[in-house]
């Protein structure tokens, strides 16, 4: 009954993509922002190892988010 009015094949892809990309990217960005805050604290406290670790996390998250933005633009302009 539901399958006759709802395209279930498309729906499950949307569900997975929304939860993975929507929630996952938000969580990833939160990790980046948290590391950015801790990077500022580590710089102020002068803890070199923490500065390097948090800077690495910020760089990885920034790259991943930038890639997600590019992928989003490509997906939207090629639909």
């Amino acid at each position: 009954m539901i399958a006759s009015v709802v395209d279930l094949a498309a729906l499950w892809k949307i569900l997975v993509a929304t939860l993975l990309v929507g929630s996952g990217l938000t969580a990833l960005y939160a990790i980046g922002v948290r590391s950015l805050a801790r990077l500022a604290a580590a710089r102020r406290d002068g803890v070199g190892a923490d500065v390097a670790a948090h800077a690495l996390v910020v760089a990885v998250v920034t790259t991943a988010c930038a890639c997600a933005v590019v992928l989003g633009v490509v997906a939207m302009t090629h639909k």
């Binding site: 729906l11 949307i14 929507g22 929630s23 938000t26 948290r34 805050a37 933005v69 939207m76 639909k79």
Partner: protein, 206 residues
């Protein structure tokens, strides 16, 4: 309906392509926004007060990117609806052949028609739920849902009345032109009346 009668309406297609997505889009996006907001708040709530300005700045940059993407999504998705309506009007009038209209089909990435308006509204609701349940103005959410429910029959009724009036008032191009002027005057009057009663300012979107 006005040109070809009720048999021209494909009920299953309306449910499949309009009603089901309109119902599912806010729920799916709301769920994703709620989970994302919950995770973000859990992660950042224990950060030291001294670093809150850094966190705020980080999210400000993020907001610029997400707002730009929403604008792009709206422009590449919802703007096509107007083109679709114009195409349908041209087909109904006989100016455009029916086969020419098929080129206007713009399927979404996974082949499902979702409205940015419904997705964004669901997302805002989800963020409110994820932050704290009390943050959501459920009365307003109910009004929005009520307006969505009314949109389809109301738009259909207005389109029917406009087409009927244009067809019976005057022949040829004069009828549509008269109705376009009437519609423009009605829309301007409605906007002016709303602005007098409760003005919409920049603070409403800030």
């Amino acid at each position: 309906v006005a040109t070809a009668g009720w048999h021209a309406v494909k009920g299953q297609a309306i449910v499949e392509k309009v009603l089901a997505p309109a119902l599912l889009a806010p729920i799916i996006c709301g769920a994703a926004a709620m989970v994302g907001t919950l995770i973000a708040y859990r992660m950042l709530q224990r950060e030291r007060t001294a670093e809150q300005e850094v966190t705020r700045r980080g999210y400000r940059y993020g907001q610029v990117a997400t707002a730009s993407l929403v604008s792009l999504a709206h422009g590449t998705n919802d703007a096509q609806k107007t083109m679709g309506v114009i195409t349908l009007a041209l087909v109904a009038h006989g100016t455009l052949h029916q086969h020419g209209a098929s080129d206007f089909s713009v399927p979404l990435y996974y082949g499902y028609p979702l409205s940015t308006t419904h997705v964004v509204s669901g997302g805002i609701l989800g963020v409110g739920v994820g932050k704290r349940l009390a943050e959501v103005r459920w009365g307003l959410a109910g009004q929005i849902a009520g307006a969505w429910a009314l949109t389809l029959p109301a738009a259909g009724a207005v389109a029917y009345a406009t087409f009927w009036a244009a067809d019976h008032l005057a022949g040829g191009v004069a009828g549509p032109v008269i109705m376009a002027i009437v519609a423009a005057v009605a829309a301007t009057s409605l906007f002016a009346a709303i602005q007098r009663r409760s003005p919409v300012t920049a603070s409403d979107v800030a």
